[in-house]
């Protein structure tokens, strides 16, 4: 909080320290919410600039960390809605195809896995860690914005329910229900990939 106070007193160089301190986490959250690394870079920078400009509205009832995440999440969601660049796989399309959603995602995210899938029917062959990550990351993008956001804030960033409620400005009970539904949807999407990984 001392840094924030210094910034408010006009010491803009102190803001650099705030950026340095939180940029990694903000960047990763933006990345997982918007789905694109390059966009995440721009969003992160924009979030810090907007947070600076809006610091006058920062009441310090919650931490700067929560504040900057609120800005970043809003920007990421807005960006995603605006650019319409969802690189997701339709649940219906995936299930109507040759394999599960996770397999479809893996094919897209991992050419190696796709080639192997065509040449090798061995169901016991497990997915590697990279493939698992690709499956999970891809499945994350299939969730709707509300569900993906709570998953990112909870399971990636480790916020508690109250903090998530503050960031998203929703009741903690809503956080709880959204998180459960998001996990169920995600679990269905990635279950085959997890199962294969477990079977290794």
């Amino acid at each position: 909080m001392e840094l924030v106070e210094r910034v408010k007193q006009g010491q803009t160089e102190a803001y650099g320290e705030l950026v340095r301190r939180y940029q990694d986490r903000v960047f990763n959250a933006c990345w997982r919410i918007c789905g694109h690394l390059e966009d995440a870079r721009d969003l992160t920078q924009e979030a810090f600039l907007k947070a600076f400009e809006g610091l006058g509205n920062f009441r310090q009832q919650s931490g700067f960390y929560t504040w900057i995440f609120r800005v970043a999440v809003n920007l990421s969601l807005s960006h995603r809605r605006n650019v319409h660049r969802r690189r997701t796989v339709s649940l219906d399309a995936a299930s109507a195809g040759t394999g599960t959603l996770a397999e479809e995602l893996v094919k897209r995210e991992s050419p190696r896995a796709a080639v192997r899938d065509e040449s090798d029917d061995d169901p016991t062959r497990g997915l590697g860690e990279a493939e698992l990550h690709a499956a999970v990351a891809g499945a994350l993008q299939t969730l709707d914005d509300d569900h993906r956001t709570v998953i990112v804030l909870r399971d990636i960033e480790g916020f508690d329910y109250q903090e998530i409620a503050t960031i998203l400005q929703i009741p903690p009970g809503t956080v709880k229900s959204r998180l459960f539904r998001a996990r169920i949807a995600l679990q269905k999407a990635i279950d085959p990939a997890i199962s294969r990984e477990d079977a290794k």
Binding site: T12, R41, R183
Partner: protein, 476 residues
């Protein structure tokens, strides 16, 4: 039950809920399976790799903040603005800023005429005749100047004055505010252009500029003649290396945005002009005035310095798709003006005013709750319309040195209130700018190195308002 299970793995249940869930888990196999599935899912997400943020984020953020500080005078976050500053006050600020464009456009022209008549300089006026940036009746320019001063007072105390509403309506009479709002930057600095003949010369000039701006804090400039001691570490010493087209739309340019005192700019001019640099290769663009050559540029720089000695903290220019208009942004009234007895700058009696409200379109921007103030301002303006115009045919800066008549009590009260309320920030600014011993502050200047000089298009017809608006919005 599922939500409780989800909360259970997150440790978000209270004791009673936890007891219930643990009993269910002991008794229900499906509940145990669901718990495992949820845990695996959460772990899978948590195991996703993380990337370090690109290093450019920090640098770019700082650069943007510095740039903002240079251009907009907000080295602090907007926390220092009046809490909950409403949109109408923001509009007032915008209106006043646009209004001041007019003021300084007029001011520069007046100064130019004055200078020409005295044969001191041969300032080359370009683009003014073919496309004056803002078409405002002469009388209202004068009124705008008056109101511009008063706005500075109002803005300093965080309240809107009647004059601001008048300004806004007057602007609406001759300016399309949206074309200004769509500018990439609301105000742009004085440009200092250096035209080079080839890449080698470009490198040489760049080297000299680097020498003058030897660090990001302008250490070299800070030690230039006339530079205040306390400016070394102040925000005004930041500079921003803009990308081509960032500050101005021309490509193939190197741009450096600097806030520096006139003395420092003069120092920079010296650096730019040596060695063997053709005199005419250096140009300084300040509003509608373009001067070629180091010496002539210095004349303009001197004018900028004169402004600052009158307590005006900075000067900027604004360009609208090739149309130039000077912006003399008054960000505060120097308390010294009060103590020195110079009050003419806010004395309304010398300002003939063309009622802008009459000419303003009905859909022009309005200032809520200020209609009565507008009426008052108009009434006041009309009462002084017969005043001699010659009285104001000098700049605010010049008038600052003239013994003025006593201002009316209202204006005086507002000035004093502004001085009182802004004393803290003024003190901080003074400290930042080297204390009161440093007259004024600085101007913001963009140093441009242009490799491919463009011929001056003297016969270019003025663009239509639509074209300007399109251009300002980046529409090709």
């Amino acid at each position: 039950m599922g939500e409780l299970l989800s909360g259970y793995i997150d440790g978000e249940l209270d004791a009673r809920e936890r007891e219930i869930i643990e009993r269910v888990l002991r008794e229900d196999e499906s509940a145990r399976q669901l718990l495992v599935d949820l845990q695996r899912t959460a772990q899978a997400v948590a195991s996703l790799p993380r990337h370090a943020a690109p290093a450019s984020i920090l640098g770019d953020t700082q650069a943007n903040l510095e740039r903002s500080a240079l251009l907009y005078d907000f080295p602090e976050p907007r926390a220092h603005q009046t809490r909950g500053r409403s949109s109408w006050t923001a509009r007032l600020a915008m209106a006043a800023m646009v209004g001041l464009v007019v003021v300084t456009g007029w001011w520069f022209m007046a100064e130019q005429n004055r200078s020409s008549s005295k044969s001191k300089t041969e300032l080359a006026q370009r683009e003014v005749r073919e496309a004056a940036p803002i078409s405002v009746p002469t009388d209202s320019r004068i009124a705008l100047e008056r109101r511009g001063d008063e706005f500075a007072v109002s803005d300093a105390v965080g309240s809107a004055g009647a004059a601001v509403a008048t300004v806004e309506q007057q602007l609406a009479a001759g300016v399309d505010p949206t074309s200004f709002r769509s500018q990439t930057f609301a105000a742009e600095p004085v440009r200092l252009q250096v035209t080079v003949r080839d890449r080698a010369e470009r490198e040489a000039v760049s080297t000299r500029i680097e020498a003058a701006l030897s660090s990001q804090r302008l250490a070299d400039l800070a030690s230039a003649p006339g530079a205040g001691e306390d400016t070394t570490n102040s925000v005004q010493n930041f500079y921003y290396r803009g990308k081509a087209g960032v500050n101005f739309d021309a490509a193939n340019e190197d741009q450096i945005l600097v806030r520096a005192s006139p003395q420092q700019i003069d120092h920079l001019l010296t650096k730019l002009s040596e060695p063997n640099q053709p005199e005419e290769a250096v140009a300084l663009v300040a509003g509608p005035i373009t001067v070629q050559g180091v010496e002539k540029s210095r004349s303009v720089v001197q004018l900028l310095g004169d402004q600052q000695q009158a307590g005006l903290s900075r000067s900027e220019t604004k360009r609208n798709d090739g149309l130039s208009g000077g912006l003399l942004k008054i960000v505060g009234i120097d308390p010294k003006l009060l103590s020195s007895g110079d009050k003419s700058a806010t004395e309304p009696g010398v300002a003939p005013v063309e009622s802008a409200a009459e000419a303003a379109p009905t859909d022009s921007p309005k200032v809520a709750d200020d209609e009565s103030s507008v009426a008052d301002a108009e009434e006041s303006a009309k009462s002084h319309r017969a005043a001699a115009k010659t009285k104001v045919a000098v700049s605010t800066a010049t008038r600052a040195a003239v013994q003025p008549p006593t201002p009316p009590p209202l204006v005086e009260r507002r000035l004093r209130a502004a001085a009182e309320s802004s004393r803290e920030s003024a003190g901080k600014d003074d400290q930042r700018r080297g204390g009161e011993e440093t007259p004024g502050a600085s101007v913001t200047v963009v140093v441009q190195i242009i490799e491919q000089p463009k011929p001056v298009e003297t016969d270019k017809p003025a663009k239509s308002k639509t074209d300007r608006a399109k251009a300002s919005k980046g529409i090709k």
